[in-house]
Amino acid sequence: MTDGPDLSPPRLSLHVPEPAVRPGGQPDFSNVKIPNAGSVPRPAVDVSPEDIRDLAFSIIRVLNRDGEAVGPWAGLLTDAELLEGLRNMLKLRAFDARMLMAQRQGKTSFYMQHLGEEAVSCAFRKALEKGDMNFPTYRQAGLLIADGYPMVEMMNQIFSNEADPLHGRQLPVMYSSREHGFFTISGNLSTQYVQAVGWAMASAIRNDSRIAAAWIGDGSTAESDFHSALVFASTYKAPVILNIVNNQWAISTFQGIARGGAGTFAARGLGFGIPSLRVDGNDYLAVHAVAKWAAERARRNLGPTLIEYVTYRVGAHSTSDDPSAYRPKTESEAWPLGDPVLRLKKHLILRGVWSEERHVQAEAEILDEVLEAQREAESHGTLHSGGKPSVRDIFEGVYADMPPHVRRQRQKAGY
């Protein structure tokens, strides 16, 4: 053997990202850089995407630590609108709590809650107009709540009872309401993102004034449909708002697995020439302000906007998930952007239009409202007891007109 230089190529190794902490460790969000509220400028809606590239790496925030609304994105909502926003978030939270309980009681098979993410869908809905269309995922029920969709209808769907508007065909929470601008939820991931772009293109083709909103989670941005959606939105300047809800966790997979080497999810939009912004998803005012900005761009035919909502999934992914298996139990308490309900409450108290007493009273009123809706829904049955959709409903609606082979099968089933 000689001691000559080692000419063999260096050995490769595979990089697999890991979250900062696992169960048993101390929660650590030091990697989440949080600018001060009010510090991010509010550009004109016709700004060149080139000039606001930094907005894809910052976080637009309105509510500061003291509960004040500050900076250029503040001041869009009246007291009454903010109070309504708080009530909607409280309602969604109470609704979730009751439905989680109902799932544990065996009244339904499955549920997905919004805990910690209520501001995103509740505030966003208020930036849209009647006739606009959302293409949501399973964690945007605030779009329905904030638009006044009856809770009892949602529960009928969750319980798959005889009054279920979807006739028992869909997994719980996969709502559909054309009237309330809420496209039928699929249950698989990311397909709706490009459909939203198509809907927006159709509105533009017809010289309509309505716009669309696409929704996706951080994990599903890895799907090819996300990228198809961005290229179509970019190419045709579709009047669509492309929402990414980054709640840090895709079931057990931390957001770094889908994000890869990019700094942020919002940065995905930059390569497509789409104005891309990051916003504090737990700040009702910031979510609304940024959504309003994007909606105005879309309505003025300026094209798509990508928005990343930085938030945190406080609860489990679904009732089939146990987060303590993959993240520290106390992680949600360490989440630096706080709780959306408490932050808006604090702001409203500071404005002098709310108080601890009124808050407690409102919670009680809302709980009554939810319980009343639940009583009514349960009178139509729950998954395993009471009124059920007909077996006939299995066969109806596969096509507009039932073809002979489906009719034969229905008859065979005895209906």
């Binding site: 054309r178 159709a202 002979p404």
Partner: protein, 337 residues
């Protein structure tokens, strides 16, 4: 009436539909300015403008996904997938989305759209330009699947598909675009102008989806085919001199079981022919239905003549393609059986 190739017939169907209904839009790869790689959309952009007929990025899931959104809005998209072999990236959008939107939303949203795709081999397209993936669609509830075998049907069926309230997969046998190819690749192709089914009305007419057509009445055996194989079957019948009844299915989903059952009960024998691979192919469904509905009339086992269970080869195309000789052998076998 006008003499049309199948390309012209398909184009005419879209033209007539776009003229009658301004919610009909046409798009796909190379579909706009250029008019499609097979020229099926030639002239449509010039006539209807580029917001009703346009080019798209090379993204099949994008094309179909966007079309679903448009259909939900209220448009009637008629999109082109350049080759059926390219549809796989859109398969999720087709099977889990387009096919189920009516059902899962209980009619709150619907998905009236057409996905056109050239299908089948015979043009030396190799394994990614020759496939016949119809069985991947007929397995999906909520879709309709149509395969025309001539210009007249192509136009009438495509107009029906565009007017249908549900999603329709419209498979165009590309080897038939310019003439009724019967599998005799060594001979020059007769143009559609010399075929009676190349006579196509200029204006609006429809052919109902779900109705088969008997191309040749006969007593001895039933041959069930669609697309290119209709012409191959007719050639095989002529060459063997067997008095076969040749049924052109035209619609695979829904299927015209009545026409099939009536014929097989009469002949007692059946050969199912398709270009797609054998195993779990559409012929398996047809054969199963025949034994279920015509068992006591059968004189011999139902036979299938299909492409081999291999990828579609390039150089050996004519050893793969189930031509008239293979169909003829099956006809003789089924008569002896």
């Amino acid at each position: 009436m006008a003499r049309m190739t199948m390309i012209e017939a398909v184009r005419s169907a879209m033209d007539v539909s776009m003229e009658r209904d301004e919610t009909v839009v046409v798009f796909g790869e190379d579909v706009g300015y250029f008019g499609g790689v097979f020229r099926c959309t030639q002239g449509l952009q010039a006539k209807y403008g580029k917001t009703r007929c346009f080019d798209t990025p090379i993204s099949e899931s994008g094309i179909v996904g966007a079309a679903i959104g448009m259909a939900a809005y209220g448009l009637k998209p008629c999109v082109e997938i350049q080759f059926a072999d390219y549809m796989y990236p859109a398969y999720d959008q087709i099977t889990q989305e387009a096919a189920r939107i009516r059902y899962r939303s209980a009619g709150d949203f619907t998905c009236p759209m057409v996905i056109r795709m050239p299908t089948g081999g015979g043009i030396f397209g190799g394994q990614t330009h020759s496939q016949s993936p119809e069985a991947l669609f007929t397995h999906v509830c909520g879709l309709k699947v149509v395969v025309p075998s001539n210009p007249y049907d192509a136009k009438g069926l495509l107009i029906s598909a565009i007017e249908d309230p549900d999603p329709v997969i419209f498979l165009e046998p590309k080897r038939l675009y310019n003439g009724p190819f019967d599998g005799h690749h060594e001979r020059p192709v007769t143009p559609w102008s010399k075929h009676e089914l190349g006579d196509v009305p200029d204006g609006h007419f429809t052919i109902p989806i779900g109705k088969a057509e008997i191309r040749r009445p006969g007593e001895a055996v039933t041959v069930i085919a669609y697309g290119t194989m209709v012409h191959v079957a007719l050639a095989a019948v002529e060459e063997t001199g067997i008095d076969a009844e040749v049924i052109d299915l035209r619609s695979l989903l829904p299927l015209d079981l009545d026409t099939i059952a009536q014929s097989v009960r009469k002949t007692g024998r059946c050969v199912v022919v398709h270009e797609a691979t054998l195993t779990s192919g559409y012929g398996a469904e047809v054969a199963a239905l025949i034994q279920e509905h015509c068992f006591y009339s059968l004189e011999s086992p139902v036979l299938r003549v299909t492409g081999w269970d291999t990828p579609y080869p390039h150089a050996q195309e004519w050893d793969y393609f189930p031509g008239p000789a293979r169909v003829g052998r099956a006809l003789q076998d089924v008569m002896e059986g």
